[in-house]
């Protein structure tokens, strides 16, 4: 009864083209954002920020980027981890080599470097698609894994192979405490989510989706596949690169190439598929699911064992995590191949009609 759009008439195309045409959606999202900025810092403790909220925000950003490419443009990638790495290491190099740059500029330059590499490694997409393309993106993954491990210049010849940053400030605002880190990531995520939404509802987003759905027809109505695909690679890599820089700078503080391994790439793709391909909100759902599930299993399984008086070893827990995680993914794909976002959309649809079934 509450979720109704009765009486909300659109009198201009502008009003009809806004992000949330239904007023209730608008208020809900504003409320969530306000709560995230004001309520959460008052409620959450340090563990919660470090283990859940900050990783969630940063990986949501990365998943958003991957979703633009995979979900909207239909170009599958298994190399997202590499582009996070490029973002992180490029930002690191800008930071130490041009010390006068402010942090935001460093992060964005990291993203831009990643975007440039995204275009380069996106070139095979002009020739191949589907699984072949997935393998081409794996090439990027393994190449950069190797490059950051073996080429000393990237890590400023650090003897241990790991690099670190500290004393981060944005316009004089110190962001070393977990709360401030959280707020900083949240602000960036909100801006990027808005950008993603704008792009996908504008001409560029339509070109991406056209290429995804029927590339020959798209070409016939005047879309250049090269421009559409490479722009998707660039924008996506930009998002992923900025997320990578945040992951290194803000979340980890010091890192080595293993932080951005092929497992990270798979994880991001899981987020997108479980969350919902071609859905902005789905990227958030997917990130939340993938981050919370292992933490939950880690806590829950030993507790369950205690209940029955069985001590479960850490190895057994980690194996069980593998099994449950894998089964859930398969289960999800069978039950709802369009992801959590589709479940969300269906329930909203139902809610609009509630309490009348039809």
């Amino acid at each position: 009864m509450i979720y109704r759009e009765n009486g909300q008439f659109k009198t201009s195309y502008g009003a009809d083209q806004q992000i949330f045409p239904i007023a209730q959606d608008r208020y809900l999202v504003l409320a969530i954002i306000a709560f995230a900025f004001i309520g959460v810092p008052m409620l959450a403790d340090e563990y919660f920020f470090r283990a859940i909220l900050i990783p969630f925000l940063i990986l949501s950003l990365a998943a958003l980027g991957v979703n633009l490419l995979v979900g909207y443009c239909g170009q599958i990638t298994l190399g997202a981890g590499a582009f996070m790495a490029i973002g992180a290491y490029a930002a690191y190099n800008f930071l130490i080599r041009v010390p006068e740059l402010p942090l935001l500029a460093v992060l964005i330059l990291g993203g831009l470097t990643s975007a440039a590499m995204g275009i380069l490694f996106g070139i095979p997409s002009l020739r191949v698609r589907g699984l072949y393309l997935a393998v081409a993106t794996l090439a990027a993954q393994f190449f950069w894994d190797w490059a950051f491990l073996r080429i000393g210049w990237f890590t400023n010849y650090s003897s241990s192979g790991s690099v670190s940053v500290s004393n981060l400030t944005v316009f004089g605002w110190d962001i070393s405490s977990p709360v401030n880190k959280y707020l900083f990531c949240l602000a960036i995520l909100v801006v990027f989510a808005l950008i993603a939404k704008n792009l996908t509802r504008a001409s560029l987003g339509r070109q991406w989706m056209a290429i995804r759905d029927m590339d020959v027809a798209a070409e016939v109505i005047g879309i250049r596949p090269m421009w559409a695909k490479l722009s998707a690679f660039a924008v996506s890599s930009f998002f992923v690169g900025v997320a990578g820089a945040l992951w290194g700078f803000v979340h980890l503080g010091s890192w080595e190439p293993a932080a951005f391994s092929v497992d990270r790439s798979f994880q991001l793709l899981f987020m997108v598929i479980i969350g919902g391909m071609g859905s902005i909100v789905g990227s958030f759902f997917g990130a939340a699911f993938i981050i919370i599930l292992p933490i939950f299993l880690n806590q829950f399984l030993p507790a369950l064992g205690d209940l029955f008086g069985i001590a479960i070893s850490t190895a057994a827990v980690s194996h069980a995590e593998f099994i449950i995680f894998g089964s859930l993914i398969v289960f999800f794909l069978i039950v709802e191949p369009h992801g959590l976002a589709r479940l969300w959309a269906t329930s909203k649809e139902k809610l609009r009609l509630w309490p009348f079934p039809h």
Partner: protein, 309 residues
């Protein structure tokens, strides 16, 4: 020259092993259009089963007959792989028919996680050895041609022989038996195959079983070379460029692709590696496949896809 040849032969041997893993990919992709990322996990699972069964059987027989123990273990592990194949088809893939490629790919990644978890829960997660009695001593060949001859690992040689035999057996199975014919029919067109009465589900179970056996053989060979451990699951990632190079749907492609990648990796590591800091094997194979893709998108022996409007 002798050193070059040695490297080349080493590459060929390694390539043969890649071919074995790649073969598993091709079989399943051909018959069901699923790109099976779980092939690596299947290799690990099979190798774990083999290693443990062989150990147990050997203990039960009092250590008298290694060969008998291995035969029992092989049969048992093969049975386990059949069950695994059946469960995968039954619980996962049957319910995912007609989904998009990306969804299927993700599903097999999920299956890979499950297999890795179950395998280690059942069989333990230490490093095990598989001893199938392959001689490990190196031999020196062609002493008359080159000074000092060429050093070849006997084990590699036998492994390559086994792989070649398996490939020939599979080719015969595909070309000559009625099941093989049905498999090819399914690969060409699911619907048409179904309409002439080929039971799709059974065919898929068979394919997964065959892939399971291929994984077992690959697992035994890799396992006896390197020991059975978790990292075995990553051989799938090493074999991927092979499939791409050879073409996703071609059995000979998997073989030739494997050899090319094997040689390419070894030669590049030995002759190029020192200049760039080494460790280039893994990405070199991918770059090779990538460069290749740009010129021949469907791979060496893959079928060309023609778009119709």
């Amino acid at each position: 020259m002798a050193f070059f040849l040695e490297t080349l032969i080493g590459g060929l041997m390694a390539g043969m092993l890649y071919s074995l893993v790649a073969l598993g990919f091709v079989l399943i992709y051909k018959a069901s259009g699923v790109f099976n990322f779980a092939q690596g996990a299947m290799v690990l699972f099979a190798a774990l089963a083999m290693a443990r069964f062989s150990g147990w059987a050997n203990a039960a027989l009092g250590g008298d007959s290694l060969i008998l123990a291995n035969i029992i273990a092989f049969i048992a592990a093969g049975g386990v792989m059949f069950i695994v194949a059946w469960i995968i088809e039954r619980l996962a893939l049957r319910n995912l028919v007609n989904q998009e490629g990306a969804t299927l790919l993700m599903a097999t990644l999920g299956i890979a996680y499950v297999l890795e978890g179950i395998g280690q829960t059942l069989f333990g997660s230490e490093i095990y050895n598989i001893d199938v009695g392959m001689p490990k001593d190196p031999v020196i060949m062609l002493e008359s041609v080159f000074e000092g001859g060429i050093l070849i690992n006997k084990e590699d040689f036998y492994a390559a022989l086994i792989a070649a035999a398996l490939v020939i057996a599979l080719s015969i199975f595909f070309q000559k038996t009625s099941t093989g014919r049905a498999l090819r029919a399914v690969a060409d067109d699911h619907q048409a195959a179904l309409s002439i009465g080929i039971p799709l589900n059974r065919i898929w179970v068979i394919v997964w079983c065959v892939a399971g056996v291929v994984a077992l053989v690959a697992g035994i060979i890799w396992g006896s070379k390197l020991g059975v451990q978790f990292s075995l699951a990553t051989v799938a990632l090493r074999a991927l460029p092979v499939v791409i190079l050879g073409g996703l749907t071609s059995v000979p492609g998997a073989i030739i692709g494997g050899l090319i990648i094997g040689i390419g990796e070894k030669l590049s590591e030995v002759f190029l590696g020192p200049y760039v800091g080494g460790g280039i094997e893994i990405w070199f194979a991918y770059m090779l496949a990538l460069v290749f893709l740009l010129f021949r998108p469907q791979g060496l022996f893959g079928e060309k896809i023609i778009d119709r409007v």
